[in-house]
């Protein structure tokens, strides 16, 4: 799987390169600024891009802008954004086109290599990987006066994990319940949120996120 990596701190960039390489990824390019990120993305058309929000030359949201621009030109290009901070505003911008293949994680999530690599793979496969912090805030700010307010605490919990891009099995493991229970919860959630049930895991998450993002 080919990856384009953008991170301006050399130490972290090297760390990410070796981490991804040991997990069987092929690094197509590792860049340290916004303009070369956009070029690399358009030249290499990687399977997934791992991008830092704040990049030279402006040290503002250069990486995010480059990623959004690349996705405009190459629709559906999978991008995993890493950031020192998670901002709802940025999460909403990333999710705005609703096509999936989006991740937005705090940088410290790379501490847990297995989970991080899992997130990269999910995004590459067109899924989503949202940081739990983003999700809980998205949910919190959307529960006011919306059908989300009708969910039980447990269902909200399931929805959050679902929105992070986890499968039913993973949710069951995390909440220490059976997979059947999770399936029941998800069915309830879909019913309460008026979402048509489909067998497709990916579409399920996108539907939820699209709903959250409304």
């Amino acid at each position: 799987m080919r990856v384009v990596l953008a991170e301006d701190l050399a130490l972290l960039r090297e760390g990410l390169v070796s981490l991804l390489e040991t997990h069987g990824f092929e690094i197509a390019a590792a860049v340290d600024n916004g303009p070369s990120l956009l070029r690399a993305l358009l030249d290499h058309r990687p399977d997934v891009a791992v991008v830092d929000v704040r990049l030279p030359p402006s040290f503002t949201d250069e990486g995010l802008q480059a990623a959004l621009e690349a996705r405009r030109r190459v629709p559906g290009l999978p991008v995993l954004v890493l950031s020192q901070y998670v901002e709802q505003l940025y999460a909403r911008e990333l999710l705005a086109d609703g096509t999936g293949g989006i991740g937005y994680l705090l940088k410290d999530r790379v501490f847990d290599a297995a989970q991080f690599v899992d997130a990269v793979r999910r995004v590459a496969a067109g899924g989503t990987a949202m940081d739990p912090e983003v999700i809980s805030r998205l949910v919190a700010s959307n529960t006011r006066g919306s059908p989300l307010g009708r969910l039980t605490p447990r269902e909200t919990e399931v929805l959050e994990l679902m929105a992070q891009g986890r499968s039913n099995a993973a949710i069951a493991e995390k909440l220490v319940v059976t997979e059947r229970a999770v399936t029941k919860h998800t069915a309830n959630i879909f019913a309460k949120l008026d979402l048509p049930v489909t067998g497709d895991d990916n579409r399920r998450v996108l539907a939820v996120l699209a709903y959250l993002n409304r």
């Binding site: 503002t60 940025y90 911008e93 410290d108 700010s141 006011r144």
Partner: protein, 433 residues
Amino acid sequence: MVKETRREQHLKAPWRGLGLMLLGIPATFVGIWFISVVSMITGALGVLLFPSAARLMRGQADVYRKAIAAWTGVRIERPYLPEPDPEPGIAGRLKRFIAMISDPATWRDYLWIVADPIVVVFTAALPGLLVLYGLWGYFLAAFAGGMIGHYGGSEWYAWVEVDGGYDRDAGRLVSTVVVATVCVAVGFLIGPKMMAVYGRWGRAVLGPTEKSRLALRVRHLSESRSVAVDASAAELRRIERDLHDGAQARLVAMGMSLGAIEHLLDKDPEKARTLLAETRASSAKALHELRDLVRGIHPPVLADRGVGDAVKALALDHPLDVEVTVDLPGRPEAPVESAAYFAVSEILTNAAKHSGAGRVWIDLRHERGMLRVTVTDDGRGGATLDGGTGLRGIERRIGTFDGVLALNSPVGGPTIVTLELPCALSSPKTSPS
């Protein structure tokens, strides 16, 4: 102030002018008292009485300033130089006396009180006097002129002689009515113009001179500077404490754990592994603390996108339903942005805590060199600047940037807080989005 129509202005101006003329009566007494005190200055009594007499005169001048502001729309700032802080004893009194007697505004006030009774007759009061004169003409033509002539009196109404036989001379009666009508018409016609002229005269004498303007400015600047210095010093202390107690302590602990792990690696790999996991968790916590700290100093969105998007991000995370409209063609200077952002953040916190509001509307725009922020909530109102709700603190802090805060919060709501910060905008936004 409710905007008056032109018609109302024309109708009211003559009477207001007469009111201004009547103000001269108490003012003259105050002026006489002041000049008598001045004449006693060679003695101790004069020195003692001078400040109170000057203050009395200032009060009188304030009445004029208020009336002129209300009736002509000309706002006149108080021009007085800052008085020295009160000190007990002779030295303090002497200092106060010297400060007041050497303030040019004191003497300009006196000039006003002496000269105004004459000036007002030819400016603000003229329309009113004309109207009165016109009314007197009608009285003459109706019956008063006949009575004067009958009892052997004689008088001139403009160029019409009022004496015996006046009430039987149709020509003289008609001229009287014509002159009276012209007077009334002219009086109402020139009213607002004359008020405006009077306003300019008021500003010239009662307003601040260049020198006192500068002195007031210096005082404002030194006050706001000390507020700014205090605030930033407190902020630095808070940051230092947070770093010292939080992230720094954690890093030390992590270093120690790593040392321990080094030792354990060969002897007890299992224990080393647990310790490593703990250290990793600890590093995540340290990161989390640093992140919160940085957010408190300068939120990343504010740095990345400017105050508009930062306030939008704030709204997204706020427990209340917050609607934000932004109309900024560029970005203000960073310190102004930051001041505005933290002010809005604090106002929102206040609204959530005290107002009982369910919805908040924030409007950010740049108008005539001002960044104007309006925060409106649908709460129960009754907020005051002195209610200990931190609004006074916000006012002081934006005062450093010559910003002003206006609060409108009638009991029962809604509460509207308006901030205005003078600032220039940088080049228009070039964001690719």
